[in-house]
Structure formats: C-alpha cells, structure tokens
C-alpha cells in the first residue's frame, strides 16, 4: 500500500477563530492508481494535498507513506521525503523565473545530492525531451507558453523518480485544448506505472481518472472507482 490516511484533521488558528479545513479524512491509495480529488472551493482539497505532499503536517490523525508514519517527522526529514518520493505539479507552475528550464529541472537533482553537473544536465535534458521540450532547454519560463511551463513542471516532478505525483489543479490556468494535452501526459504516465493524485473541479477531467474522491467541508463525501 502506498498511502494510508487515518482520520486526518487540520485546524488553522486565525486569532480566536479556528478553521477546521480537514475534519477526519480516511482512505487508502495503492501504487499505480490515478485518483482525482474533487470538491467545491474551500472544501480542503489543497490542505489535503499539502499534507500528502509532506509540505504540511496534520493537526491530528496518521499519514503512512510507503508504510512510514510521516505525521511525526519534521522539517529536514520532510524535505528529504519531498525530494525523493514526491513530485509536485502546481496550478501556478511555480518555476524559478530567472533560471532556464533546464536549470529548473535540475533543482531536485541538486538538493537530492546527485553529483556532477554534467550528469544533472543530461538527466534534465532527457526528462525535458520526454515531455517534448528538447528544443527549448535554454529558454526562460517567461519565454514559453503556459502549456509548455506545465510540461517543464511535469519533467521536474519526474526527475527524481518519485513514488507519487501530486497535481493541484494542473489545468486550472490553461485553456481547454492545452488542458487536454496535459491530461494526456498524465494518463500516459499512469499507464507507465506512476501513481497520480490530482485535484480538479472539472468533471470532464475528473472523468479521466480511475478513481474519484469527493471532498466537502473537510470530509470525504464520496469515494468511487470508475470504469
């Protein structure tokens, strides 16, 4: 089992007010699944993704990633888990604006302790070729389109061979046609064996996943496998 979350809760404190973003979420995800998480805005989808991605910690409950309880792990160890086991794809792309796309894809290799600049660049170049950007290596993010940016982000997410790819509304900033292209890449990756969890509020896009978890008010409302 890749992921097991048990009664996951997250409470934000804003002065005297407490916001219960997650109120007790439980599910399991096997390696190789393609899961879409849907739900209205403010229902806690991003909060859940942050915890699944080890960017944040639950207030209560347990999170086991590949059998390891990461709800009790802190800071630098979490950074290491993010680097080795998780690949992020964000709605806002989140590329480093001053670096070339090749350098951007190198970043996880640098923090992962992959030695040798040449080896890093070679791996990054291969990853970019896989997403069809082999001829844009030295462009900067502001010189390429949104769809291309998201491909760079996917190449970057894949570079360290993570066990899990997390995508929070990856098509949210793209037009429908480009969004479909990006979805094709994700489907292809899933076919190749990658585990993908994707947040979306687009029913059509959710329909391309093999399992849909619906969240409402910080709770799992529906969890169904689609044919």
């Amino acid at each position: 089992m890749l992921i097991q979350v048990v009664n996951l809760q997250k409470t934000y404190r804003m002065g005297p007010v407490q916001v219960h973003a997650l109120k007790g979420v439980s599910f399991q995800i096997e390696a190789g699944e393609f899961v879409a998480i849907i739900g209205p805005s403010g229902s806690g989808k991003s909060t859940l993704m942050h915890i699944l991605g080890c960017l944040d910690q639950p207030s209560a409950g347990r999170y086991l990633l590949e059998g390891q309880d990461v709800s009790t792990v802190f800071d630098d160890q979490l950074a290491e888990i993010r680097n080795k086991k998780i690949g992020f794809v964000f709605q806002q792309f989140n590329l480093l604006p001053k670096a070339t796309i090749l350098q951007n894809v190198c970043v996880p290799l640098i923090y992962g302790g992959i030695r040798g600049r040449r080896r890093q660049l070679k791996l990054a170049e291969q990853a970019l070729q896989q997403v069809g950007l082999g001829d844009r290596l030295h462009h900067r993010p502001n010189e390429i389109s949104g769809g291309q940016k998201q491909r760079v982000a996917i190449a970057r997410a894949l570079i360290n061979n993570p066990s899990l790819i997390l995508a929070d509304e990856p098509t949210g900033n793209l037009d429908t046609k480009t969004g479909r292209e990006i979805m094709n890449i994700f489907r292809q990756l899933n076919k190749e064996g990658h585990t993908i969890i994707m947040v979306t509020h687009d029913q059509e896009i959710a329909g391309q996943a093999r399992r849909v978890i619906q969240i409402r008010d910080g709770l799992v409302q529906k969890d169904e496998v689609i044919a």
């Binding site: 950074a79 290491e80 680097n83 989140n94 001053k98 923090y111 992962g112 970057r156």
Partner: protein
Amino acid sequence: MIWEILRMAVDSLTVNKLRSFLSMLGIIIGVGAVIAIVSVGSGARMQVTNEISQLGSNLITISPGIRRGRGGRISITAADVFTMELAEQLQQNCPSVERIMPNVQTSGLLIAGGNNYQTQVIGVTPIYQQIYNFYPARGQFITDEHEVNATNVMVLGSGLAKELFPDTDPLGQTVKLFVRNRHLLFVVVGVMEEKGTGAWGNIENQAFIPASVLMKKINNRKYVSGYTAQAVSAAAAKAAVGEIEYFLTRYLGDPEKFRVFSQEQLLETISQVTGTLSLMLGGIAGISLLVGGIGIMNIMLVSVTERTREIGIRKALGAKRRHILAQFIIEALAMSGFGGLLGIGLGWLGAAGVAKLGGWPLVVTHSSVLVAFSFSLLVGLFFGIYPARKASRLDPVIALSYE
C-alpha cells in the same frame, strides 16, 4: 553544490546591479577608509621619522617654558634667561653634552644686485655644522674668528645662492640685509651643500651669519631664544636631558621657566599623535563598516521577502534548511566580499593620491589588505546570518502561496 549556490548568488546580485552596489557602498567606504588611513598614517610617520633620524637622534632642544597667561591663555614666556654665558656653563656642567649652540634668528630681506629675497637669517657658531651635519659645498662656514670679532660675513643656502646670484659666483660678493628699517652689508664667504626640502621649512633658502652679529648688531639683546645641544651619543641623550634639567633648575630656580626635550621624545610624541589620529579615523572606518553591514542586512531582508515564493518552491523540491541558509549567507558574503575588494581598490587609490601630495612613499601592507578584506567578510557573515535564518525557517506552504 557549492558552485551552484555561488553562481546563484552572483546571478541574483547582477540582476539588480545598482541596488547591489548601493548596498555595498558602506562596506566599500569602510574598507577604503581603513586601507587609506593605515597607508597614509604609516607613510607620513615613515617620512617624519626619516627626517628626524637624519638630523640625529641625539639632538636636544632647550626652549622657554610655557606659562599660563591671564584667563587661562597659553603664552610662551620669552624668558630673558638664555645667554651665551649660560650656554658655556651648560657645556661645562653637563658631561653628557657634546656641543651646545644658541638658537637665534630673524627674518629679513636680502638684496644682491637686482635680486632680492625675503628669508630666515640664522645666527650660528661653527659647531652648527657638526650638530646639523650640514656643511658648505664651496668657500667656508662661519669661523670662531668671525664669531669673536662679529664680522659681517654670510653663508648662503644653495637655493638662496641661486636666487640672489643666478649668473655670477656669489663668493666674495656683497649682500645687503634689510631688517627692522636698518640695513647691513655682508660679504658672502660660503655656499651650503644641497640637502633637499626638510620637514621644517626649506633650509636651502636660509642665510647664516655669526650669532654675535645677529645679537649685537641686529637684535641688540644679549638673550637668545633657546639652545640646541648634542649629546655625546644617542644613548646618552636621556642622561643629557636629565643633566640639563638639573642644572637649569638650580641655576634659574624655577623648573617652569624652561623646557628640555630630545628628538627621541619628539618622535614619541609624533607617533603618539599619529597613533591617536589613526585610532580615531579607524573608529570612523569601523562605524562605516558597521553601517555597511546593516545596509547588507537590510537588502538581504528585502531579498528574502521578495524571493519568498522562490524559497517555497525550493523547499517543495527538497531544499533543506541548510541549503537555503547557505544560499543567502553566500549571497551576503559575495556582496560584502566584492564590496571589500572595491574598497581596497578605492583605499589604495586614495592613499596613492595623498602620498603623492605629501611626497612620501606609498605603503600598503599585505596585512592591512588582508585584515580589511577578512573584516568585510566577517561583517557580511554577521549581518547575513539573520536574514538567511529567517529565509531557511519559512513555512513551505505559506511561502508557496506568497504573492
């Protein structure tokens, strides 16, 4: 890894060159000041020390005491106590004193043919030559006979000789001295050797006449303004000062009436003064470095805020605290180090300019360059740590959602 971080630091500094430069300004000025001050200080001291030791470190000056005048004003009492006879008595009673000479001088206008020149006229005895190690190049100096008979003879400094006699041989010529509405005629008997410009005016343009002539025929006073004594050796200078003080206190009955000091004491005083000055200016330089450090901290804090999102991205991709810490500290170090290098260049230029004006050698020691540079790095490290720590402790989720 370290190279990547270094390159990143340089990249981020070159993105906003003007801002980086302005942030470095404090360091540049501070380091520049340190280099310039140390260099100018040691150059000037070297110059003064050279001149004094050329004169001989066994010289002793005896001058009137300083009296507090009315209202706390300081006035030099022209103590009418220093006579030629007293000089002889000092000579006899102070075994460590080799020679002693009265100090008596005036200034007047010298005229020879169509040329004239306003200058210092020094009353001397023959021992002036040995005391100051200064001899005539041509002709002769003032002799004992001239002194005893108060003969109107004159020896010219080499520069003065050229001023008064540009085309003719000055030896045997007549020079007219105008002083206090009177004039006297002198025969030139010698021209001094060239010694170059000294610390105390241009001795090349002075005229020398017998002390007796100056006292009897010009000043009409039997008192001189002081004495210059020479100890038997440099080692005996201290003993000579003691003997002179002891004798004069008994003879004049009042230790406030005179002052005695050796060249060595003068040297000490000078190095004390320059030391204090260096310390003061060094303090200013230190404050400037501090301000420079605060400038760097300020810009680093701005940079951390501006790059919050970048920090969030890096953390999401697996950067640990120490990676972010190193990135920002190296950026601060690059800024302060580069500022330090610019400052060293600036200080060097400044010191070279001042040395040229002051006519002393340019002294920039390796140690002062090294100290200034390491100090600027230290300032960068010290003031870079806080912003870097702040960056490394950012929460990744909050940093990622920063607009």
